[in-house]
Symmetry: C2
Subunit: 253 residues, 2 copies
């Protein structure tokens, strides 16, 4: 059975999409069959892979509204072994449209669970909010991967995020585990980065991935070419760090 | 009458909070009376000013729920001429709690408009979402200031943001103007930064502030000391850029 991992942190701009795309691509390069499910209405996972989604393309919106099956929406990407469920702008309205629907938090879980036989990994890119879409992601997942930027505000949000994860574990998804905490945009030259690494490691202990993702210009450039970092700059520090993360994840089992 | 400016962009991590705090502080340093209203449940505007908010402190939540007046919630900050309406975690639940309430988008406007006689500027720090809280911010405001990070994904969200601003102008707040588009985290050494500046300037033309905020380590360090950049590193490039932005804003009238 494949593993479903939600990439989530309500703090904005911490590297959720960057991690979703580059981890998915690195896992695929090891021959794993990977599905990237984007549940952020911004749809950055799609554009970061160079995919432009037409208005009539079936997307995550139709799946959550029970108007289509995942099979209708899944598209292949230029990356071998990597498929994608795209987003269209209507997704922004889902929270309101499903307001009084029972079990609205389970829609994504119902859609993705059957796919776990066809993929080794399903990666869910969550929006920067603790909203219905993120709850769907945490409810569908076996585990949650938490990117934390090596910056001051990133620490602040941790307590709130852990509270939400706890709430989901107590009700919607008792099996939800913590896959790990990933330090991103690490700049070894700044005190701030090193302080954050120390604080996060002492707070999360063995839950912190050994792999730390450095801040590199190549990582920030790759999406403008629509290519994951391990294909865009294969020998660079950015690609090596996401490959190492994929190895760590595969070894964690 | 004081001017109410919403700082908004649904893309995460583009510098909304950093701009809200540092612009507010720079305006205050010119002798303007400034109120910083935080409507992001993360509450980064409070912690970036070194303020810890106790559980029983009246906050934005009680104002939006009609349980308190702004006067009950306003607190002074260590920065002369700068007051703050703080946030408490309950704010995250407001969208759900006000689901079927009429005129729920006007709650902040009703609360802040009367204060425009006491302050020269009211700055609203919005969350990374196009949700009820952001709609309250855009409905309360005279104008919207849009921070855009000099990175690839930042361009993507512009079309969606302008659509939302248009919707608000057509219904909730016909007076809403665009105060300006602010380029943030500019790194002159990267092609990406320069490409984004070119694209944003050709898309928004004279709506782009002349001031561009550079990416500096000091700006990212300042919040961990709870001090705005113009007090933390007064002679640095970061402080100078926010002072210049304040001047531009005051001259725009
Ligand atoms: N390791 C890195 N080095 C350099 N730039 C990075 C790195 N990781 C992410 N970035 C850049 O930082 C910005 C924020 O990253 P990203 O969009 O992946 O974060 P996010 O958490 O998905 O944001 P949102 O909260 O809006 O969904 C992007 O412009 C991205 O290209
Ligand atoms: N000009 C700058 N130079 C260096 N770092 C910056 C700059 N502006 C912002 N930052 C840092 O980038 C991160 C994101 O900024 P900030 O939190 O202000 O963005 P935001 O848009 O408010 O995020 P959110 O979407 O979560 O509300 C923070 O860690 C901040 O310290
Ligand atoms: Mg993202
Ligand atoms: Mg913010």
């Amino acid at each position: 059975m494949g593993k479903i991992i939600a990439v989530s942190n309500q703090k904005g701009g911490v590297g959720k999409t960057t991690t979703s795309i580059n981890l998915a691509s690195a896992l695929a390069s090891f021959g794993k069959r990977v599905l990237l499910a984007d549940i952020d209405a911004q749809g950055n996972s799609c554009s970061g892979l160079g995919m432009t989604i037409s208005e009539d393309q079936t997307s995550m919106y139709e799946i959550l509204m029970d108007e289509a099956t995942p099979q209708d929406a899944i598209i292949s990407t230029p990356v071998p072994n990597l498929d994608l469920i795209p987003v269209n702008p209507h997704l922004a309205g889902v929270s309101v449209e499903l307001t009084s629907v029972t079990e609205r938090e389970f829609r994504l879980r119902k859609a993705l669970r059957p796919l776990a036989t066809e993929y080794d990994f399903i990666i869910i890119d969550c929006p920067p909010a603790l909203d219905l879409l993120t709850l769907n992601g945490l409810t569908a997942a076996d585990s949650v991967l938490i990117p934390i930027q090596c910056e001051y505000y990133a620490l602040e949000g941790m307590v709130k995020l852990m509270k939400t994860v706890g709430l989901v574990q107590n009700s919607l998804n008792p099996e939800l585990a913590i896959e790990g905490v990933l330090l991103t945009m690490y700049d070894s030259r700044t005190n701030l980065s090193n302080q954050v690494v120390e604080e996060v490691t002492s707070y999360f202990k063995d839950k912190v991935f050994q792999t730390i993702i450095p801040r590199t210009v190549k990582i920030s450039e790759a999406p403008s070419h629509g290519i994951p970092i391990d294909k865009y700059d294969p020998s660079g520090a950015g690609a090596r760090s996401y490959i190492k993360l994929a190895e760590e994840l595969i070894n964690n089992g």
